[in-house]
């Protein structure tokens, strides 16, 4: 790995001293194989002498075997990845490459450029300080160039180099380059990219990469390497107000209580006033503790441990902020959302959202509009599918500290997780809190759930019956309601009969309508619980995800899931409504148990085996469970 400096051989100590002060630049490359992206990256690695001889020998062999450059080295092969895609000749994920020069270390996020890989490009862009967008000089600014530029702008990368590649194939024409530059600047201006540098080059021939091209005397700007070494990235983060999300509260002994986290904005000094957001309490920084000794000050980009002068409440997920310029706190936001999962966005469903070190329950609205990444046009839509981008409203189950993404990426960037699979299904950028966020927040006090419940004289909750058609849900739910009513409980039973005819009369029995049916039942149950009622629901509700969503809408101790368990053959043999027979004849598509699955609860509060108990015994088991959980307290005379 021969770095070019003679200093290595002559005076290694001086070399090391100099190299300890290198800075770091993370950048993203966007383009497709056809644009020469892999060739460009391979060339950067090669010219910064990051390729060992054993790798180079392998490259020579590979170039002859599968290369596209005849007897010449095919630099694209230096950056190939997993075996499968090497054979297919495509890149399917974000790969990270490393090289360094005399002044900088570089981390390259290498992402494929096809439309279906928006997910990967957004991932690569999220950690980049700058972007290199490839344009083929023969074709100029294409749809994909617009797409790449939009995503770069969306993710808040301010510095863009446009690598106008393959100038050798257009006779090194200045006219061609000038025309492309003009086209590009038009596109960039429309999406708010202002710091743009266009560089004519040939990655294949190594022209204007590190060495200047002899064929383009008309170009006096930087080579790509000049650009990468010179671009200013000591971002505005340090200039902004102090922010530190608390990752970890350190309590090695009773005398020490430190708050550990990364500084993601500004500077902190001993003696500074800081505010805990969202709590709002303030204190003073007593010490900045590190293994190398206490510091007087620390800046954005460092990970430290702070101690405070006062004993105040502060835990993982809270954000320590400059006291006079604190982050805002809110629980409802407008946000850009990039969908990253095969399973589409389900508006209203319960997800988790993670911002900084805080994970909270959340639901997303359907998109206000979707954005076509090729035309930048807004389009209506009811959901977001894989690789789609939209503007959605986000409702969290509690307030969090945040800054708009454009002010601070770490304070405004979030991921969305599926509650059941724990997969990362989306990422997004917080733009602004919704005004109603504050309203809801401050108005939600006077007559609240507690007040409603106090008037009823018992606690509100949901008893959610689930099971196959014909399992006996409604029979048991009826009996339970009668017994609760007799005890003076204010109940309401939601079932297919009273919901399907009114509230949900617009819904059919297709898959998405069935999801919507259950979503509305969950929401109505939540409103009724808020009103202080005990709600019994009797729906097949075959999917775990739907039931988890309904459960998440109320407090953890306000949801009792009762699994009315009957084997399919038993339920089918009862077939009180003749539905199974119809389904077997193919007249009822997507019928649960026949051609649509039933996902049994993994941890229901109660499972009733209907082959072993009568409906009366089952109802008694439910009421007994409610009693054991303290949900009937105050309604029955205690033991004499």
């Amino acid at each position: 790995m021969a770095h070019t400096s003679d200093l290595i051989a002559e005076d290694i100590d001086a070399y090391l001293l100099a190299h300890q002060h290198k800075s770091l630049l993370r950048f993203l490359t966007c383009g497709s194989v056809d644009d020469g992206k892999s060739t460009l990256i391979g060339r950067l690695l090669y010219e910064s002498k990051m390729v060992f001889e054993d790798h180079l020998a392998a490259l020579e062999v590979d170039s002859k075997k599968v290369g596209t450059q005849g007897d010449e080295l095919d630099f694209a092969l230096l950056v190939d990845g997993l075996g499968a895609e090497r054979e297919q000749g495509i890149t399917i994920d974000v790969a990270y490459r490393f090289f360094s020069t005399e002044t900088r270390k570089f981390i390259v996020a290498d992402t494929p450029g096809h439309e279906q890989y928006t997910r990967n490009m957004v991932t690569g862009a999220s950690t980049a300080d700058a972007a290199v967008i490839l344009v083929d000089a023969r074709y100029g600014v294409l749809t994909q160039t617009r797409r790449h530029s939009y995503l770069v702008s969306l993710l808040g990368i301010g510095k863009v180099a446009v690598a106008v590649n393959k100038l050798d194939l257009v006779d090194y024409s200045q006219d061609v380059f000038d025309r492309i530059e003009e086209q590009y600047r038009d596109v960039a201006a429309g999406i708010g990219l202002s710091d743009v540098t266009c560089i004519p080059m040939s990655a294949l021939r190594g022209e204007n990469i590190t060495a200047r091209s002899g064929h383009m005397p008309w170009y006096s700007g930087p080579t790509l390497m000049d650009y990468l070494e010179g671009v200013e990235v000591d971002d505005d983060r340090q200039a902004g107000p102090f922010r530190m999300p608390v990752q970890w509260v350190s309590r090695p002994d009773l005398d020490f209580r430190g708050f550990a986290g990364p500084i993601v904005g500004g500077t902190v000094r001993v003696g500074d006033r800081v505010r805990v957001v969202p709590a709002g309490t303030t204190s003073t920084v007593a010490r900045i503790v590190t293994l190398d000794g206490d510091l007087d000050a620390a800046v954005a980009g460092q990970s430290v441990t702070l101690t405070l002068a006062d004993e105040i409440d502060c835990s993982r997920g809270d954000v320590l902020c400059a006291a006079d310029e604190p982050a805002a706190a809110a629980d409802q936001f407008r946000a850009h959302v990039v969908w990253m999962a095969e399973e589409e966005l389900r508006p209203g469903r319960a997800y988790l959202v993670k911002v900084g070190a805080r994970t909270v329950g959340a639901s997303l609205s359907g998109p206000e509009f979707r954005i076509d990444v090729n035309t930048f046009e807004q389009a209506p839509g009811t959901t977001l599918r894989l690789n789609e981008i939209g503007v959605c409203d986000l409702r969290l189950d509690r307030a969090i500290a945040f800054d708009p993404y454009d002010d601070n990426r770490d304070m405004g960037g979030f991921i969305v997780l599926d509650r059941l699979t724990n997969a990362t299904v989306a990422a997004g950028m917080l733009r602004a809190p919704l005004r109603r966020s504050h309203n809801v927040h401050w108005q939600a006090v006077e007559v609240d759930k507690r007040a409603h419940a106090a008037l009823k004289g018992h606690r509100p909750y949901v008893v959610w019956f689930t099971g196959l058609s014909g399992a006996g849900k409604s029979t048991i739910a009826d009996l339970v309601e009668q017994q609760l009513h007799a005890l003076g409980v204010h109940t309401y039973l939601l079932d297919g009969d009273n919901v399907r005819h009114g509230l949900n009369s617009d819904l059919g029995f297709g898959n998405s309508d069935r999801h919507e049916n259950i979503r509305r039942v969950g929401e109505v149950s939540r409103l009724m619980v808020d009103a202080g009622l005990v709600v019994l629901t009797s729906f097949i509700s075959p999917f775990r995800a739907e039931r988890a969503t309904a459960r998440a809408l109320v407090e953890p101790d306000e949801f009792v899931e009762v699994f009315v368990d009957a084997p399919l053959e038993v339920a089918e043999s009862r077939d009180t409504k003749g539905l199974y027979a119809k389904a077997r004849r193919g007249e009822l598509p997507d019928f649960t148990g026949i051609d649509s699955p039933y996902e049994p609860p993994e941890h229901p509060e109660l499972r009733i085996d209907t082959t072993a108990s009568t409906p009366e015994q089952a109802a008694k088991a439910v009421v007994d469970l409610l009693r054991r959980r303290g949900l009937l307290d105050g309604l029955e005379p205690g033991p004499a």
């Binding site: 990845g81 200039a239 970890w248 770490d410």
Partner: protein
Amino acid sequence: MTTLTHLQRLEADSIRIFREAVAESEHPVMLYSVGKDSAVMLHLARKAFFPAKPPFPLLHVDTTWKFREMYKFRDRHVADLGLELLVHRNPEAERLGINPFDHGSSAHTDIWKTEGLKQALDLHGFDAAFGGARRDEEKSRAKERVFSIRSREHRWDPKLQRPELWSVYNVRRNPGESMRVFPLSNWTELDVWQYIHLESIPIVPLYFADKRPVVERDGVLIMVDDERMPLRPDERPELRSVRFRTLGCYPLTGAVESLADTLPAIIQEMLLATTSERQGRAIDHDSSGSMEKKKQEGYF
């Protein structure tokens, strides 16, 4: 405006990864291989939790075939720092006497290390394991996540891997799933050496050149570290000044001839070197894409 150096930024990111993983795990553990990457990882772990000690034990998946100096260094260093060390040796491998000479490097590594690691993780119920792998080591690692999810069977399934945006890591797992966490993902070999130099991190003396008994076998210099090594008829161990760029089982680790006995001299040699560090490892030579295969099987 303070410009942080590349090492300061790498350090801060690694510390953040340690804290995030520990905050959201029940039973974290650090895989400790006694090599230079482990040394850097341990140093970063100490920084992440200071003034507390790292809140997890170290786990050495041993093969009984490491260099003697590695065992000596391991026990002394861990004792100096007052940390808990767990050593796991696959009992099945011990019973069968698995070794690289009779069973080949591939079976040796598979049974002692890959199987041994799974056994140890299951035995203790660890749900997060820090490893020292770097993305620059090998092509198949360029796309590895910082937080890599493994199935109940410890397999690496591409479909389980999640996009990683910003530094907002998704650390949640389903019951039975575990995580491998790689705090050194974005470090290069040069970064590691520069950091060891800058921070004066103790490393095994085998990294420094010294006169050691070696034989040249199939073009590779192998150190005769103990009497278990069967010599071929024409082999006579001779003392040569050698050092090691990576450390593993001594019969599988090639030495390089060198006079570099200080860190600056090692870094100088590395910068002027023309072969990659993995070239000295027998494990990569089996076939192209062998690391990729090993990763899927649960090896680091």
